[in-house]
Symmetry: C2
């Protein structure tokens, strides 16, 4: 089955994360993109996302592994939602599986850029309930 352009882009992002190639990684995000660092804590914009990615790499002692075990793309014009089974592991982190949700939009050049990177999926609702 031919892969969707967004599946290839997410694979490129995962590779960039593991290689700690943050220049390449940041190209994939929209200028006003957001990254859920952990439930309740978001990075907004490329500067904050880069800082968060560097901190995450250091936190996992530069052994972070990320891969998608399955993806489904829903596309509506210049907007797409990717539902993914995301596997995350590291030397100090047993492998965990997350129901990730990624939103992409096309920029003025027609290139897909990540607007919302939420690897936690609906886990945010659990945290939400606790705070309210």
């Amino acid at each position: 089955m031919t892969k969707h352009a967004l599946e290839l882009l997410i694979e490129a992002a995962d590779k960039a994360i593991m290689q700690e190639d943050f220049d390449r990684l940041l190209e994939i995000y929209a200028e006003d993109g957001i990254l859920v660092i952990k439930p309740g804590k978001n990075a907004a914009g490329k500067t904050e996302i880069r800082k968060a990615m560097e901190a995450i790499a250091a936190h996992f002692d530069h052994t972070l592994r990320v891969r998608q075990a399955g993806m489904k793309v829903l596309e509506a014009g210049d907007t797409a939602l990717v539902l993914a089974k995301t596997l995350v592991s590291a030397a100090n982190l047993p492998a965990i599986e997350r129901n990730a949700t990624y939103v992409f939009t096309k920029d003025s050049k027609g290139e897909w850029r990540c607007k919302i990177d939420n690897s936690y999926g609906h886990e945010l609702l659990l945290q939400n309930n606790l705070l309210e």
Copy 2:
């Protein structure tokens, strides 16, 4: 806690579904919005979405009930992802809970419109795996 504009809009959509007020309901969708009718089957654009909504209402013998038991909004500029616990029931359907994912974008007038309406969330991946 003050409700986000998108929480109010989704509540208005749920009310319109239950009242079968499809004119009001369709106002909430983008022209090129998509609705996941069931895993593997999408309606694309307002004409198809209206037809699907009418068929769904008839399928449940005009007793469909929809409400959100929790929502979390992630906003990035003119794009937002809503993660919701959606409760669906009907006279011929025992209550079920879904981890729904909704994507909204702002139109040229700055109004939020639903681009991707996927009440099934990651259930689509199960279906995806079966087909591949």
